[in-house]
């Protein structure tokens, strides 16, 4: 019951944010200077043709009217249609979604693979030599631009040693996995500093907990307690940390896909902005924001389900 109440409350909190998002996106997009009609017509632009195009696209109506029509389409699940090729924005996003998802999940998986062992290593002896070393890593990692990590990985594992392709997305599942490995690794290296810090702090806190003391008092070895009690609990902590940083993660994919020339959702956005294709810009931005809000909500709900104290 408590959980349901909590879930309901969290869901209601999301609604104003969703409204705010739609507002921000709509007016932001319309503040981008330049006229889509000019881009469509190019040299052939005359006043009449521009007017006709404006009417066709519906951008001669007052902004408020445009906003409400955008909102009502949104409620019907439609993100609009591209100004240029008459394709629906949702299908454009869908076409590129798999690459983005590969990058996101790859990034999360690799980030956990990097961070969990390091955090365990550090937390198992606070203040020890290993802890000191692990604590320096995030300080260095936090300052690495992800584009740069990507380029260095291309140099090392793509060009010097031909282990991975340096660009593109491939056609088969195996190719997808291979070509998204280096980009995912760049994202993971960028995400790890935050993850290592939070996981280490979470583990240290759990190590102080009564149930760990009890387990130790019962004679269970330090390393077993670490693996079965502490690590399992800190997985809960990493769900939250990942939830909080989902916006950062999504943003990373936009940057990194550019370095590796992967046709993912971020490129759609950048190309659409330069073409003044409002519906695409709106659609992609809203889509990203929705992903962030949904994942945040899910992370909170998972956290509450795993740890009933949260919902209290």
């Amino acid at each position: 019951m408590n959980f349901l109440f909590y879930a309901g409350k969290r869901f209601l909190q999301v609604l104003p944010a969703l409204f705010g998002i739609s507002l921000v996106v709509f007016f932001l997009v319309h503040a981008i200077p330049g006229d889509p009609a000019d881009v469509i017509l190019g040299q052939r632009a005359t006043d009449e043709r521009v007017k006709a195009i404006h009417h066709l696209l519906g951008i001669d109506r007052p902004l408020v009217v445009q906003y409400f029509s955008f909102l009502s389409h949104l409620f019907q699940g439609s993100l609009g249609t591209s100004f240029y090729n008459n394709t629906s924005v949702s299908s454009l996003i869908a076409g590129r979604l798999s690459a983005t998802l590969f990058l996101m999940f790859g990034g999360i998986m690799l980030a956990l693979l990097i961070s969990l062992p390091l955090a365990i290593l550090a937390a198992s002896k606070e203040g020890g030599a290993r802890d000191q070393v692990v604590r320096v890593l995030p300080i260095i990692g936090l300052g690495m631009p992800q584009v740069w990590i990507g380029i260095e990985l291309i140099l090392l594992f793509g060009l010097k040693v031909h282990l991975f392709p340096v660009s593109g997305f491939g056609d088969t599942l195996a190719q997808h996995l291979r070509s998204t490995f280096l980009p995912s690794l760049s994202i993971a290296i960028g995400l790890s500093p935050i993850l290592i810090r939070s996981l280490r702090a979470a583990m240290l806190e759990i190590l102080e907990a009564d149930f760990v003391l009890t387990a130790r008092a019962k004679g269970i070895s330090r390393s077993r307690v670490m693996l079965s009690h502490v690590v399992r609990n800190s997985i809960i902590a990493s769900v939250t940390v990942l939830g909080v940083n989902i916006a950062y993660l999504v943003g990373s994919t936009v940057i990194v896909e550019r370095v590796f020339a992967i046709p993912a959702t971020g490129g759609l956005l950048i190309d659409a902005i330069s073409q003044r294709d409002y519906p695409i810009v709106q659609g992609v931005t809203i889509f990203f924001a929705l992903v962030v809000v949904t994942v945040n909500l899910l992370a909170d709900l998972i956290h509450a389900a795993l740890d009933p104290r949260v919902a209290l």
Binding site: I139, G143, W148, I154, A247, V259, F288
Partner: protein, 281 residues
């Protein structure tokens, strides 16, 4: 158990020692970078944007310690001038969000009520946007350049300060001496300035160190996407982007600007960590 506690004390001592070391090493690193940035015209007689098409992509020599790029420009010189741009914008871009966020957080946490609810809803909306998605759109609105970067970072960045300060105010306003100040009839503005702010600003200052790193990363990433400081101005991000094409022959051209960012980030993080331990004692 006893031995563990003893061990604990030892750690605290060591950390205190390293707190000062961290702070001073950080200040030295950033200080050196700042000196190089300011003195760039004295340290190099090359023009950071002047082309020399007869000497393109040459390997490091005595005259060009890091060689030249595809337009014959001295890489070391561009690196030093780049420090000017990236450090200046990085710091400027944090200043505005710091002021706006701290002020809003202070008022929001102190007053609560409708104002607080409104500010928090705006915060929720803003953090729903991935920073780079928002920044890319804003750069197109304002037009690429330092101004756009500062506006984009400011519009998103204030949120962090607002949340940090608001949380700290919620704690601080229940403290005894704040209650005492209230009861003695001091005007609210004075209580906020003299009693609450000094207590809550520490965490905002500490965060601002890593925030400068984040904003430099943003400048570099936008520069890489071609949405940052317009070329040919020497800027680390566009140097990485332009160098990517020559990575097989001249790996250092895109690599070293990134190393500079890492060093800058390392220095600022050291300062931040040192401050945490000093101020929180």
């Amino acid at each position: 158990m006893k031995s563990q506690r003893f061990e604990g004390k030892g750690i605290v001592k060591r950390l205190n020692f390293s707190a000062n070391t961290a702070l001073y090493s950080g200040i030295i690193i950033i200080g050196l970078l700042a000196i190089v940035a300011i003195a760039a015209p004295l340290l190099s007689h090359y023009d950071p944007i002047g082309q020399d098409l007869e000497n393109t992509l040459i390997a490091p020599t005595r005259h060009h310690l890091l060689g030249t790029d595809q337009l014959g420009r001295d890489v070391l010189t561009r690196l030093m001038y780049g420090a000017r741009i990236d450090l200046t914008i990085g710091i400027l871009a944090v200043l505005l969000p710091f002021i706006i966020g701290t002020t809003l957080g202070l008022i929001s946490g102190w007053r609560g009520g409708l104002f607080d609810t409104l500010v928090m809803r705006v915060v929720d909306t803003t953090i729903a946007f991935p920073f780079y998605v928002m920044a890319i759109a804003l750069v197109f609105v304002v037009g690429a350049g330092p101004k756009a970067i500062i506006i984009a970072i400011s519009l998103v960045g204030w949120v962090a300060y607002c949340r940090i300060v608001r949380a700290a105010v919620l704690v601080a306003k229940e403290l005894d001496y704040v209650h005492a100040a209230k009861l003695s009839g001091l005007p609210t503005s004075r209580i906020l300035r003299k009693h609450v702010l000094p207590n809550v600003i520490t965490q905002a200052i500490i965060f601002s160190m890593s925030d400068i790193v984040l904003s430099i990363l943003a400048i570099v990433s936008l520069g890489y996407l071609g949405l940052g400081v317009p070329i040919p101005t020497a800027e680390w991000g566009s140097m990485i982007q332009e160098g990517q094409a020559y990575i097989l022959q001249q790996w250092w051209i895109p690599t070293i600007p990134g190393v500079m960012v890492v060093i800058t980030g390392f220095g600022l993080s050291l300062i931040g960590d040192g401050l945490v331990k000093r101020l929180n004692k």
